[in-house]
């Protein structure tokens, strides 16, 4: 039962008191602070990246390489009104592809599983086990991303290299996307898996929580009409909480797109190549920013650092677009349901 903002009548109905005014004013200020923070980050990125935007032009979307240029030579290169090291050429293709594909794969794996697990956590787990299970799932979100990375390097990557790769190569060798052998194990599969594990608890814990506030009476009502618990869940509960599930998924997607350390350690750090199989190395925007920031600081023209900021801006734009598109889809399907 979603409640929208107070209607004007509601607000007039409640007796106005100084505390009300203070609360309204205070929370509006806080909302303003939040919005300002996001705008500040965006403006920071735009200002910082501007020289790189001018220098790189559209090349950033077409070049496959990330070349800082010769920093120990003499002279500089002039493009777009700004200078960079001679031979500098920055291309974001590899990173954009890596980010989008790994996040998409991670969400594809984690979202349905999170929904299923949230349902199980509320409707199937015995009462006495509920608290421990809930705590453990939430604990998954608290594992440091570095630790996920270490586990990935120490356990997941060898497993992919020694077991998953050969298995798929033996049975699916025709499908080169999955069957061409694992190489070192670092790559798209490892990154997507780790990301899926990392975003799963965000969605599962939130969705379980939302399901637990869903009126039990509606659930039981469907059963009274002859549905099995599974049917009741899928036809009554899940559709009703679609907005909340969507909200949780958007937060999870944000985490996947922006995850830095864990991906850095298992992605294989692809340069100049886009993945042609799930075992191919990839690179993501967040990972490349972390790994290249130190090198970028040695560029005396500063163009490398600015280009990394440009990458961050591109990621910001990707996140914004995905959020907008997803919202449009949700709103569209809402409208279809209502008019049906």
């Amino acid at each position: 039962m979603a409640v929208a903002a107070l209607s004007g009548a509601e607000q007039r109905r409640s007796r106005i008191a100084p505390l009300d005014v203070a609360l309204r004013y205070g929370t509006t200020v806080m909302a303003f602070v939040t919005a300002t923070i996001v705008f500040l980050v965006a403006i920071f990125l735009i200002i910082y990246a501007f020289p790189a935007i001018a220098f790189n032009g559209f090349g950033i979307f077409t070049h496959l390489e990330w070349n800082l240029g010769n920093q120990y030579g003499s002279g500089v290169e002039h493009r777009g009104g700004f200078i960079g090291a001679p031979g500098a050429s920055f291309g974001a293709v590899v990173f954009v592809v890596g980010t989008v594909v790994s996040s998409a794969l991670a969400m594809a794996i984690a979202t349905p599983l999170a929904i299923l697990v949230a349902v199980a956590m509320h409707y199937r787990v015995p009462r006495r086990l509920k608290t421990p299970v809930n705590t453990l799932v939430e604990l998954m979100a608290g594992v440091p991303s570095v630790v996920y990375g270490l586990w990935g390097v120490g356990v997941l990557v060898p497993w992919i290299s020694n077991s998953v790769g050969p298995f798929l190569a033996a049975h699916f060798s025709a499908l080169s996307f999955i069957g061409s052998g694992a190489g070192s194990g670092n790559g798209l599969l490892a990154s997507s898996f780790i990301l899926a594990v990392m975003v799963f608890p965000i969605m599962a814990a939130t969705m379980r929580d939302v399901i637990s506030t869903f009126p039990q009476i509606v659930f039981e009502g469907a059963i009274g009409l002859g549905a099995t618990p599974w049917q009741s869940v899928t036809t009554m509960v899940l559709p009703a909480i679609r907005t909340q599930m969507f909200a949780a998924a958007m937060l999870a997607l944000g985490r996947a797109l922006g995850e830095t350390m864990a991906v850095l350690m298992v992605c294989g750090s692809a340069l100049n190549q886009v993945p042609n199989s799930i075992f191919a190395p990839i690179n993501t925007i967040a990972a490349v920013i972390v790994s290249q920031l130190d090198s970028a600081l040695t560029d005396p023209t500063g163009m490398a650092e600015r280009s990394l900021a440009e990458l961050a801006l591109i990621l910001f734009a990707i996140t914004l677009s995905v959020n907008l598109v997803a919202r449009l889809i949700m709103r569209g399907s809402d409208r279809v349901k209502r008019t049906a």
Binding site: A5, S14, M30, I37, V117, V133, T228, Q231, M261
Partner: protein, 303 residues
């Protein structure tokens, strides 16, 4: 998903194919529950595997003295890192509670439709900003421009930015879920809006709000990149100064010591990871048990 469509399908066929005993339904529900329980078991198994991975490698370094000695180079204890982590997280949580709860309340209660959607969109986009970008943003703005150097204030603000989307959305969703009848009951009794919010809506929403807050805290505790650029690192106990004083934290130990050529450093890194996870577990357990009592009172759940 078997939507009860209104158009097209003859009622009889729909009813029969959806009846309890039909094979289609039985397969659906068995597969459904089967997969969900399997996935749950799998998730818990991975968590336990990671816990074991960390604990087994950190055990050599987990002596009581680890809590009373500061780091000495890449050896020694973790007293300073633990203290620093606690300080950073407490400051961050306080700050994010103020800003995040406030924004969430505004979103669910006061916001006109268009600004509300805008702020929700902005918060979701903020969740997608990589932690290293937040850190570098903090470095340029706070460490250099504002001249704070490496500081507790800078680190806390960086953590707050990381946690903000979760707390805002969590509060927003939790308050939205409060049943209309409950609130209108409060108004009917003549309460002001603030009273209704504080005595009816907020207590009802608190468990959900806390779920998100704990989630956010867990994520913040596990972050490295933002703190490297704002809190720096210190081999000594953190001072209580808000600025001009670097703060140590456990994730630095994990990230840096693990790549040292000494076995003792590796053990310390894993010990730091184990301690961090224990901190989150303990906080979760305490918060949960406190909330259990609250929830049972507020929701009047049929036990």
């Amino acid at each position: 998903m078997s939507e009860m469509t209104v158009s097209g399908a003859p009622a009889e066929t729909t009813a029969r194919s959806l009846s309890r005993g039909s094979p289609l339904v039985t397969i659906q529900r068995n597969v459904g529950w089967g997969i969900s329980l399997l996935a749950l078991a799998g998730a818990l198994a991975i968590l336990l595997a990671i816990f074991w991975f960390v604990l087994s490698r950190g055990l050599p370094a987990l002596r009581p003295s680890i809590f009373t000695t500061v780091t000495s180079g890449t050896a020694g204890g973790l007293e300073n890192a633990i203290a620093g982590t606690l300080m950073l997280v407490i400051c961050g949580v306080i700050l994010v509670a103020i800003i995040g709860f406030g924004t969430g309340i505004w979103l669910s209660s006061y916001a006109p439709p268009k600004p509300r959607e805008l702020v929700r969109l902005l918060t979701d986009v903020l969740a997608g900003v990589p932690s290293v970008v937040v850190g570098y943003f903090g470095y340029i703005l706070l460490v250099k421009l504002a001249g704070w150097q490496f500081s507790l204030a800078g680190g806390s603000i960086a953590l707050t930015i990381i946690m903000l989307p979760y707390v805002v959305r969590g509060t927003d969703l939790a308050l939205e879920a409060v049943p209309r009848e409950l609130r209108e009951g409060g108004f009917a009794l003549g309460a002001t809006y603030t009273t209704v919010l504080m005595t009816v809506s907020w207590p009802y929403a608190l468990p959900s709000v806390f779920t998100m807050l704990l989630l956010a805290m867990g994520i913040a505790l596990g972050e490295t990149a933002p703190l490297i650029y704002t809190a720096g690192w210190s081999n000594y106990m953190p001072t209580l100064h808000a600025t001009h004083s670097p703060v140590p934290y456990l994730t630095y130990v994990i990230w840096t010591f693990i790549s040292q050529p000494f076995a003792e450093s590796h053990a310390l890194a894993f010990a730091a990871a184990a301690i961090l996870m224990m901190m989150i577990l303990v906080t979760n357990v305490f918060a949960r048990s406190w909330l259990e009592g609250l929830a049972r009172k507020q929701r009047g759940e049929s036990s």
